[in-house]
């Protein structure tokens, strides 16, 4: 006996029928695990979560895993052909155009059903960017199991969960300023570390 899986399309259709006006997007997963995720919009996230938990068909009463993912800004370069005047003659010139895709933080939730014994259904919430727009709605009011895990994501990734009852650092100390699980995190220099004999700099 193995757990039944429910397809992401199925869940998406059910959500769209139950919560009018919501935006749900399926994120395909290229690995053989074929666990696709659903990206939720912030405005309806809590409502959708309540629906997923209480719907008699889905009954995703158990939120197993909550975690964060950091996607850095990426630079995409593509070759663009443009027409230019070279020595008075119009010729086609290839130019490399660089565009920066802004990074984001994601909060990922793995949902299962203890009653129906199916899952996982993966939902995720995205922040606008990695710096000043890092707020997403908290799902702790729907699933208590997210309480410590959302605190951990806040601590290590810096996602601010709005509506969390007790959003404090959990693993790092309160005075700590940075978010260590971010991809561009640089650990502070260790004062006890010896300086390099020739350059006088810290060895790193």
């Amino acid at each position: 006996m193995t757990a039944q899986t429910i397809s992401a399309e199925q869940v998406k259709a059910a959500i769209e029928a139950a919560v009018p006006g919501c935006r749900v997007e399926i994120l395909q997963n290229g690995s053989p695990s074929a666990q696709h995720s659903l990206v939720l919009d912030h405005k309806h996230a809590t409502e959708i979560a309540r629906f997923l938990r209480d719907d008699v068909e889905l009954r995703l009463d158990y939120c197993s895993n909550v975690t964060g993912v950091d996607w850095l800004d990426t630079e995409v370069s593509e070759k663009v052909k443009t027409k230019k005047l070279v020595d008075g003659v119009e010729t086609e010139v290839e130019e490399v155009k660089k565009t920066t895709v802004p990074g984001r933080l994601e909060a990922v939730y793995h949902l299962f059903s203890m009653e129906k014994k199916h899952g996982p259904v993966i939902v995720l919430l995205r922040t606008g960017n990695r710096t000043d727009d890092v707020r997403v709605p908290s799902l702790t009011p729907v699933w208590r199991s997210a309480e410590f895990q959302e605190r951990e994501v806040f601590d290590l990734y810096g996602i601010v969960f709005e509506g969390h009852p007790d959003l404090r650092r959990i693993l790092m100390w309160d005075e700590f300023a940075d978010h260590p699980m971010r991809k561009d995190y640089v650990p502070p220099a260790d004062d006890d570390e010896p300086l390099h004999a020739a350059t006088g700099e810290r060895e790193r």
Binding site: M1, T2, A3, N29, G30, S31, P32, S33, Q35, D61, Y62, C63, S64, N65, T67, V69, V108, H110, M114, K117, P120, I122, W143, R144, S145, A146, E147, F148, Q149, L156, I170, L171, M172, W173, P180, M181
Partner: protein, 384 residues
Amino acid sequence: MSVEIAEDRMAELTGDPDSGQLLEISMGPHHPSTHGVFRMNVTLEGERVVRLKPVFGYLHRNHEKIAENASYLAAIPYTDRLDYLCSMTNNWGYALAVEKLVGIAVPERAEYIRVIVAELTRLQNHASLIGFLLQDMGASGTPLMYAFREREKILDLFESLTGSRMMCNYMRFGGVRVDTTPEWLEEVQALVSRFPQFLDEFEKLLTENEILMSRTQGVGILPRELAINAGVTGPMLRASGVNYDIRKVDGYGIYDRFTFRVPLGEHGDVYDRYMMRALEMHESLKILEQALREITAGPVIDPKTRLRGLRPKAGEAYGRIESPKGELGFYLISNGTTEPYRYRVRPPSLINLTVLEDMCLGRSVADIVVILGSIDIVLGEVDR
């Protein structure tokens, strides 16, 4: 006392800070009952708990970041150090997630060996937990030493198989590291045949013990709905009467081939949690008997399996197993390089602690110790 009543009471009492009625104490981080470096900020009114906030992070080493900077293979020995009592099941959870991510098949013999070592791990974990729980209640020594005597025999078996008692580093994605010898399997069989004797002795000593019953029955009750909503898993969830065992639900590995029952509690108190461990040991022995009887010959890992320099194509996978403490999950995201882009451990010990305050409200300090002992935490996994 429910959470709401306790909060009202807090507001009532803190209205006058000089009333001298509230006492704040810090239990831990170095306290023999906290099973490691774990601290609780407890607010007391007289002898009763009106607030309890756990404080984590004393053993935090950012395991996830370390694994994100290592190859897929190099993360396996780090998983040993999560729940350092159960390195075998930690290895399995991680191997399962990588197998899902890449799509690797596991040879049949390796599946049997995995079940055997995982159930041995469960035996020694549950026996030690009962020993620690009794130690916390003040039964100095005897039950713990009985449990450790048996645990030592299992650790000896692990040592002869893997070279290490606790940090086994035994499983690989696609199988296990080395094959067992026929003599090793005979020794396991001998241990499995003798173990019921120990269990009978242990239960005779404890199950109907008046002191144990009066200290645990009706203490730390966890209602079924709260247990589900708070993501509590493992024996603690089943003590609250929820039939959810991932060995049955997912049937990962070859667990669907074995006949065993899932013990369920009625009251969700500390006594039920103790009973769950005792009964689950009997079921583990049943699984071991069947696995030892049915184990087949063959390779334990496909020699063509790529271990070093594994480069899964971009994608993600979540793999989970029923570890002795609950649902141990690993969430991996690959971006096509040799290192995981995201490596996440879903620690059962940490998430089971979510309900610690709810279970302790209105109880005395002595009960906190017993309730915490019945959750079964290992700080290597809580703080990662």
